[in-house]
Symmetry: C2
Subunit: 321 residues, 2 copies
């Protein structure tokens, strides 16, 4: 929600001289995206998003992200398309940061998704999973299940300041989940962060997916688990089974879930809840003085984690047998 | 630099139903404007800025600001134009805030203005002063010279934490300046906040003025004084007389300064420096916990104030006799 890196007009002019976009007519910092700095540009050729990658994004991962957006767009997934410079490169440097220009995607993100939105998300996610097949690059999930024990360790020192007993709980969960992690489920490219602010709608129609900067290779069903957490809980912390059913049936209609994926869903959802609980707890405990971003509440994800611990099987998410 | 008020899509849809703007296609918070929340909207009818007025803007002042933009636009000044709803009203309510829609203005603000920009600013300011003649509403300058003694009083308690001796200095200056404040200078509608981020350029050409939410009736030459401070000092704190000359000669070419305005300029510039020193000091001393905006450095304006105290006459700003 902030502009971390200010770009001067001279720097910008020099950067844009490398592209074939015509005269620059507008340039505004946008208050979206927690990890990177984003500007909206209007040039004679149209509207574009300029992203400056801040420290959390590793430069060596950028070819994966950029290549993935190109791969998906070429296969009919509506997502931002990297704009190449005059040398055919989509990855530049600006104000000391790696930077890319992508096409501007119309649409609004939905603050309070309803059943129709959840269904559309399920369909779009499955289509993205299918379209990701054959993408030639690989990226491990840096925040995948193998990382949770060490993240829990990092958070343990201060976790009880967030909630009494939290340090023991996250360490226990990280250890239990690692031992039970399912094997042999379908893998592929996942988005890994399909929260409502990364999914655009025009009216009731899903118009595109954005922000592929957590995308990686992992279990496809883990992507569903992340989104069940992000889309199907109400503000009061209760799980809305009608939304869960819509998301899962939307997904199933495009890519049929395997029986073992369905069986693994409670554990995957528990893991996904732990992953966001851990990173939010670490952010919460490490807000730098003068930070321009309010950390998100870790306890929201503690509630979700506890819900999934209470689940016996995936039918409780609304999945019909 | 922040979105203070989040707007939900249902609230927004209801608000926009009152306007004749066609389907909404995009809606993004923008990281500009320190006082209010601004969103960029794209609808079938074009691009618009939606402003939600936060607590610092008084609702009773909004008809002045909106009326002024309409008055200036009708007289050829390029500034945002308020968009009227189906009832012919330009002032609405959204998310518990007074809210307006204005047309989107192309252009970039210049982070490091040069002499050409200063000249163009002087010309545009003079044209705005002339165009403001005949505007039927009045608004006193809530941060004008009459307020500085009480602002100095408010800041005095903590001012020495910013710089030793600052409390005594600002109180002395507020008192001295009030006693010497010039009488009988031309008055009219001034912008009162013509900093670089409120002035747009396309290439070297000034394309428009924005953010009229400090506009008021005051001495016309006081507006020049504010901009001399904001545009003509270098990052190291030194006054650039070439930029000063460009700004003043640009102004003079469109509206000839009177002799007594020229004579008063050092005092007005000292007053303008004190005004921003005071409000920045107060903001600095009152940063709320969790603030999303970094306060601006008050000491920048202490240096400027001290420069103006050392000036003997307006020729030192680059004004030829």
């Amino acid at each position: 929600m902030a502009v971390y890196t200010e770009v001067g007009e001279d720097q910008l002019a020099k950067f844009l001289a490398g592209y074939d976009l015509g005269e620059l007519m507008s340039f505004k910092g946008i208050a979206e995206g927690v990890e990177n700095t984003n500007y909206l540009l209007h040039t004679k050729r149209g509207y574009f998003i300029l992203t400056l990658y801040e420290k959390r994004v590793k430069k060596e991962d950028l070819p994966f992200f950029i290549g993935l957006m190109e791969h998906l767009a070429a296969r009919g997934i509506n997502c931002p398309q990297p704009v190449k410079d005059k040398n055919g490169t989509a990855l530049g440097d600006l104000a000391g940061r790696p930077a890319t220009l992508v096409t501007f995607l119309e649409g609004l993100w939905i603050r309070r998704p309803n059943v129709v939105h959840c269904q559309a998300l399920g369909e779009a996610m499955a289509a993205m999973h299918k379209a990701g097949g054959g993408f030639r690059l690989r990226r491990e999930n840096a925040l995948g299940h193998a990382s949770w024990k060490s993240l829990a360790q990092s958070a343990a020192g201060g976790a009880d300041k967030i909630a009494p007993g939290l340090a023991a709980l996250i360490q226990g969960e990280a250890s239990d989940i690692e031992k039970s992690w399912p094997k042999g489920l379908p893998e592929g490219v996942i988005h890994a962060d399909l929260f409502p602010d990364n999914v655009f709608f025009l009216g009731k129609k899903l118009s595109g997916l954005i922000d592929f900067y957590f995308a990686c290779n992992d279990l496809l069903a883990y992507d569903i688990a992340v989104s069940l957490n992000a889309w199907c809980f109400e503000v009061d912390g209760s799980f809305n089974v009608t939304k869960g059913r819509a998301l899962l049936s939307g997904y199933n209609a495009v890519r049929k879930l395997e029986t073992k994926e369905v069986a693994a869903l409670p554990l995957l959802a528990r893991g996904a809840a732990l992953r966001f609980l851990l990173t939010r707890a670490i952010d919460w405990l490490n807000v730098p003085p003068g930070a321009l971003v309010r950390p998100k509440d870790p306890l929201e994800y503690l509630k979700k984690l506890n819900f999934h611990r209470s689940i016996r099987n995936a039918s409780e998410y609304g999945l019909s047998a």
